[in-house]
Point group: C2
Chain length 352, copies 2
């Protein structure tokens, strides 16, 4: 019995194309001989495409992408300060537009310290947690505005929008994940200052918690959470938090676990109404683009999240095992982006 | 020529009274024999006072405090989850009310790695930076609201308010501080997502920068900044940022520099219209209150910031030198809160 899935591939800018090339290589290796076949369509999107055509993401692009089963994305963003990009916000207009339009309300960001990977922490401990970041609300909604722009009397507001509907669905998902892990859930917010949004998040967590008596629940203010990220990250299992706090915490999580080059993520629409999107947490890093020095591991691990989501956990497991084996053998060796992809693909093929 | 200043002392909750006792001890030791005399008035405020009287901060309290030259504050906040505190937000009603009413628009939070103090980072390097956190705007303004509270249709909004007036005054202050340090200023924001507030902050920094050609300026997204806090904190000199990002970054800064027990802060009204307020960054930590195990160093270092602000830099320097000497001699010894204060006060007296 064979199954074909349609994958939209957005390589994007900077190191995006390089790391996606390796992710695709690994994906091809792991589906080879399996009952899954992947039918890829390339979408040329990002700062480069904008500079060429003036388009960031057209309705036609969006419709075409939405007709796929899933999306693999590299990285988006031009050279910081490029004056030609001043009037385009590629992040809002492309990356966030995809997340919002495709209702990616679960932004899943696992963190793990790999044996042999040096952490900036003296004693990271046995770190293995996942941040469940809300993806469609909060301060990310773009509901801001400004008056008297450019004058000394300017006022610029940003509105964080939080709904019971939006909070409940992501909190529920986080509890489900906790039951598949170590049954611990930490809500991170800033309830003592952002009291309206904070009360809503706290109420929903309390309510949903009654349905999951096996899950132990605690709460941390976001500032205190950053302290524990560096003093005792092993204490965390599942963290559920809003869009902005999740953004901040997952970069920090990537850093303490030995580098943003290992941090994978999934933007999931659990309802299946829209395709989910898989991407490394890192950005386009234009300063090192084209040099074959970017670590493609985060992009490769994102394909494991993709395979899991496509209902092929055994294939996902093979990718993870190959990455684990490759990381264990790294020992500080300097390899090109392609060499890392080759090595992981070879490990997968050898284990088949 | 002698000079007397009126100091309002708010010991507060939890470990607040313990650490303030040591801060006052050190303050008394350092002004002894100097031309400065400090006339202290105690204000019993905090969760304990609220539970007794039902008052958080009355207009009479506020007026009385405002009539002082400066404020020394310990920590505010009851036992988390105390049902009797559910309807009172002591943080908003007291701490933030003081900061906002007294127009503490510069929240100054220096970070330094002391030789001999273990950092959770394997290799912290020569860390010595100061975060200039805006204190009267941003997501802290309390301009949120919610509808259909408690129902599945609830919507809870939080508004971040940013004005050219408010941003410019704190940015200008940060540039001034940079010129007294290593002439480096980093703006931290999230301009790619919070585009309205982000454009305002970036514009003001660009404009003020033209008046400070000797200061080199860069920009980091808040998520990226947390990465550098753990991978290369020595790169920072002065960071200027908004109220919420500053809150998050300074807890992280405290953690990487060897503990929030060393992190001092000043809430400054540079215009001098209102008294400035000096407080440790740490909270009331009710779990360890009354045990004499809290580190009073952050509160003591806050008195150095206070003395600086009162125009007595040589006295401030004596406090800092005594703390430096004490920290260098610590060597992991376990001392009570009072013993740390005694040791630092004795070092000051001996050096006189
Ligand atoms: C590029 C940016 C809009 C994005 C975000 O803030 O979500 C990125 O930082 C991330 O974490 O995926
Ligand atoms: C207690 C709380 C309101 C406060 C803040 O968020 O500013 C604290 O975290 C701080 O950093 O001083």
């Amino acid at each position: 019995m064979s199954r074909s899935v349609k994958l939209a591939v957005i390589r994007g800018d900077g190191i995006g194309p390089e790391v996606v090339a390796e992710a695709v290589k690994v994906l091809d290796a792991v589906v080879e001989g399996s009952e899954l076949s992947i039918d890829k369509t390339e979408f040329s999107l990002g700062a480069a495409r904008y500079l060429e055509t003036g388009d960031v993401l057209t309705d036609t692009d969006l419709e075409a992408i939405a007709a796929h089963d899933a999306i693999l994305l590299g990285a988006i963003g031009g050279v910081p300060g490029d004056p030609r990009l001043r009037d385009a916000n590629i992040e809002r207009g492309l990356l966030l537009k995809l997340r919002f339009s495709l209702d990616h309300y679960v932004n899943l960001r696992p963190t793990k310290v790999y044996p042999g990977v040096p952490s900036p922490l003296a004693n990271a401990g046995d770190v293995d947690f996942v941040v469940v970041r809300e993806g469609t609300e909060g301060p990310y909604v773009g509901n801001g505005g400004a008056i008297r722009v450019g004058t000394p009397a300017e006022v610029a507001n940003e509105v964080s929008v939080n709904t019971a509907y939006g909070v409940e669905r992501v909190v529920r998902h986080a509890f489900e994940i906790a039951t598949q892990r170590r049954n611990k859930l930490t809500l991170v917010h800033k309830t003592n200052v952002l009291t309206f949004a904070g009360k809503l998040w706290q109420r929903i967590v309390n309510e949903v918690a009654t349905e999951y008596p096996q899950v132990s629940v605690d709460y941390l203010h976001v500032d205190a959470a950053t302290i524990f990220f560096v003093t005792d990250p092993a204490r965390f299992d599942v963290i559920v938090t809003d869009n902005l706090f999740g953004d901040i915490l997952t970069d920090l999580a990537g850093a303490i676990s030995g580098g943003i080059g290992l941090a994978a993520s999934a933007n999931i629409n659990p309802d299946g109404t829209f395709p989910s999107m898989f991407e490394p947490v890192h950005g386009s890093a234009p300063d090192i683009a084209g040099k074959q020095i970017a670590d493609p591991t985060a992009a490769i691990l994102s394909t494991a999240l993709l395979l899991d989501h496509l209902g092929a956990p055994e294939l996902a497991q093979r990718v993870v095992a190959a990455v684990d084996a490759d990381i264990a053998a790294r020992n500080g060796a300097t390899r090109s982006t392609a060499q890392v992809g080759d090595a992981i693909a070879a490990l997968i093929t050898a284990a088949q």
